[in-house]
Amino acid sequence: MDKNTEIEKLKEIVKPYVKDHAAFNDLHEETDFIRDLKINSANLVDIILDVEEKFGIVIDNDSMERMLNIKAALEIIETKLAER
């Protein structure tokens, strides 16, 4: 899976939980789920569960800790996909 496909897939996952749509339209690697997209912290777990389902990976607790922005999420997805 190339990086653009991964970003598009991640954007689709994140979209339903976004509260700040302007920030979503302007999404880039440093975009923070909570600070920028104003996603409710209880919904961050839904994003993690959706990522697990849609990418067919398991996100361990250490990875989950870092899952605060797009860049970290993509890194975690890539690492876990490579481990499969």
């Binding site: 209880a42 777990v45 839904d46 899952m67 605060l68």
Partner: protein
């Protein structure tokens, strides 16, 4: 230090499916899950414990400068239930936070402090107060006391609360 978290239960019910597979496992320890499932109103207990974790995390984040999604490291224990108020404790990385959680029909609110005696110093700040950030910490200038006071702000759905320590 003080941290608070408010949850509009109607909105929480709309935004989250706590019975979704994996939801409890990612957010709550085995003991916390057992407590949730054995409680008469499991969904309420999900949000009571979640608001305890959130309010304690706010202090942890301010005290350490660390940002991380660490619900399983914020370990809750409930100590006492008196008049619709739960008193509890959250531990994280060797730090203790003391919490009080108020429950009404459609709202859950937790206030956490890092010293037990601070429970007597909690005061609510008017919601119309202009909150600014200094060194990334929210606060306001208190005209009466002639000093800057840090606050914790929580907003969810229909509810908003600003608290400070006197």
């Amino acid at each position: 230090m003080i941290g608070n978290d408010i949850i509009d239960l109607a909105l929480a019910c709309e935004e989250s499916d706590w019975q979704r597979e994996g939801f409890l496992d990612k957010l709550f320890t085995a003991e916390e899950q057992e407590f949730i499932l054995n409680y008469s109103l499991p969904e309420s207990m999900v949000w009571i414990l979640w608001s305890m974790k959130e309010s304690a995390y706010k202090i942890f984040n301010n005290a350490t400068g660390k940002r991380a999604y660490i619900p399983l490291q914020l370990v809750c224990s409930l100590l006492e239930n008196k008049d619709n108020c739960f008193y509890g404790k959250v531990t994280c990385a060797g730090m203790n936070f003391f919490t009080m959680t108020y429950i009404s029909n459609d709202c859950i609110e937790t206030i956490a402090v890092d010293k037990h005696e601070y429970f007597d110093k909690i005061s609510v700040v008017d919601n119309s107060t202009i909150i600014t950030k200094i060194n990334d910490l929210p606060g306001f200038y208190d005209e009466n006391k002639k000093r800057y006071r840090s606050v914790s702000v929580s907003h969810h759905g229909r509810y908003k609360k600003i608290v400070t320590l006197n």
